[in-house]
Symmetry: C2
Subunit: 349 residues, 2 copies
């Protein structure tokens, strides 16, 4: 699954071709430069990287998924990358996924890894996910970069894409750091089947848990973030409504700065629900909680408690009940601090 | 014209009733408290204010437009406001609109005033506009608070609402400071006709100029802003497309922080155009200029010039040519600095 941004990076363009067959054997990733808006030359560079990796590993170049992340609009330094690709096979070793999780970081401050063991017919298998991402994050269909590997197989005819899409829709697509959608978003899921067949249910559940873990790790690590926000929208008419309102709240700079400052300024949440013009929610039915504290018409005493709740917790739970339907969804985001500004004001200079 | 936010303030609810007749004789405004999300009591308070002002001035309460701006969700301090309303008539004096422009400021750092003289059949008239607004500004139909007064009249049967709407659509509705739509947005236009009749064309043009002046004054004064951004979208298929892409660029925190930091990170503009999923623009046809400097595939030397352009100017002109149609529009916004965060992290506390 790739970004919906209309200017996908060269690796995304090449990657979309390479995943057509449904089989991948290698992923090659570089950070610091996204190879986006680099024209025909950028696409050629991405193909050259896949070919060189393919030659080094002895596999077809179409079995290689390329990924790049970093600055937009700058040509890749091929004189550094190609010699490294030639040495790829000699550098492979078992268990170095942690090193990969570290190597793909850009403005990330932490590695993002999650895994689950699941039962298979012949014993036990593993699903292992790594991700990166800290800014330019409002994923649509996928997130910045995420690779999920598993040694299980699934019953013949299983629609793996639908399983992945369902997990992504409940996790990465419920995440926003700064409302900006990256040109490089990629989620890849590879299964080699070495540990035998698992049930679709077990696999789906473990996959969704991993995706939510990684989503939260990205939110916690949002550029300049000091707090993880978990927002639950309850009682929506449908998922579309929940999604519009959830994103409106988590993308509001005024909500994000209030949470950063421990300011119990709940009117900003009302504003953010109300600015979804095409989804009006009766004010009477709207309920808002910070943690388990209701905020509407809060007394001065409650306002003090709300402020303490925001100040004393690094994981903030917002609960917004629309009370007009039965759909519920969770969303993740982070607060907005001076550090975000500093980090992004001088990114390339 | 009032906010499209689904939770309009009590004064907006009362004001919508009072403008039904098409005639207003007074406007009563308080700042620091918006009387929003205050329930039935808030509406009653707004009515009580209009009635008291009406009694003081000897006019029907329905000829009074109420406006409030400031914190959401806190009851008005009626014990201060009502006694002041009783004294309204004795405090009126000619030419104190500047004091009004100052009195309505909240986080604004500057008064916002613009006026034009226009010809009338019997000599000369004036259109005089004041506004306030610095945050929670992505107006939809109107802006925070704006009052435009004129002593001219227009030919019988003129649709004044359409004239105002056209001016607002070219000015306040092309403005965004932080993507958040206020619950109090109001633009009121009052004409008393004392200086005689002007032509519709002259009036329209002067009104639009005033609205654009005030829009730019609001953008310059955006919370924490150090730079005014004027964005021109050229060659769009239609106004809807221009508007979606213009807002996407000016609302992007990554574009705003790059301009703040003087970082010639033009890839972020590409990203912001590309994240308007339903309006794909061929990458080949897209042209982007900072001032008169083209940015795509900029050489290191051009990047240096771009950075100097951003650093040495407080009014930044961005020109984005889509080259797929004939529609052109201008938009206004500002950069995003640490001051915005500071100002909004501790707003009510």
């Amino acid at each position: 699954m790739f970004t919906k941004n209309n200017y996908p990076g060269a690796p995304v363009i090449v990657g979309k071709e390479h995943v057509q067959s449904g089989v991948l054997q290698a992923i090659v990733i570089n950070s610091k430069n996204s190879n986006v808006a680099t024209g025909e030359k950028g696409i050629q560079n991405s193909r050259d990287i896949c070919r060189t990796i393919g030659e080094s590993l002895g596999i077809d170049e179409k079995l290689v998924l390329p990924s790049s992340t970093g600055v937009i609009g700058v040509p890749l330094k091929m004189e550094i990358i190609l010699p490294a690709c030639k040495k790829a096979k000699s550098l492979l070793k078992p268990g170095n996924l942690e090193e990969v999780a570290e190597a793909i970081m850009t403005t990330d401050k932490r590695k993002k890894i999650s895994f689950r063991k699941i039962k298979t017919k012949s014993g036990e298998g593993t699903i292992y996910g790594i991700a990166k991402g800290a800014g330019m994050i409002e994923p649509n269909m996928a997130t910045m970069l995420c690779y999920i590997l598993s040694d299980v197989s699934l019953p013949k005819g299983t629609d793996l894409y639908s399983i992945l899409k369902s997990s992504v829709d409940q996790s990465f697509n419920c995440l926003t750091i700064d409302s900006d959608t990256s040109t490089s978003d990629t989620v890849a899921l590879l299964c080699n089947g070495l540990s035998g067949e698992s049930s679709i249910e077990d696999f789906s559940q473990a996959l969704t848990e991993i995706c939510i873990d990684l989503t939260k790790l990205i939110a916690i690590d949002g550029e300049g973030a000091t707090k993880l926000i978990e927002l639950t929208i309850k009682g929506a008419q449908n998922e579309i409504q929940a999604r519009k309102i959830g994103k409106s709240i988590l993308n509001s700079p005024l909500v994000k700065t209030a949470i950063y400052g421990g300011d119990p300024n709940w009117g900003r949440l009302v504003m953010a629900v109300g600015k979804v013009f095409d989804e009006p929610i009766p004010f009477e039915s709207l309920q808002i909680y910070f943690g388990d504290l209701p905020v509407k018409e809060a007394s001065p005493e409650t306002l003090k408690k709300l402020s303490e709740y925001l100040k004393n917790n690094t994981e903030i739970s917002l609960n917004v009940m629309l009370n007009i339907g039965t759909a519920s969804m969770k969303f993740w985001g982070c607060d907005f601090s001076e550090e975000y500004i500093k980090e992004n004001a001088y990114y390339t200079t």
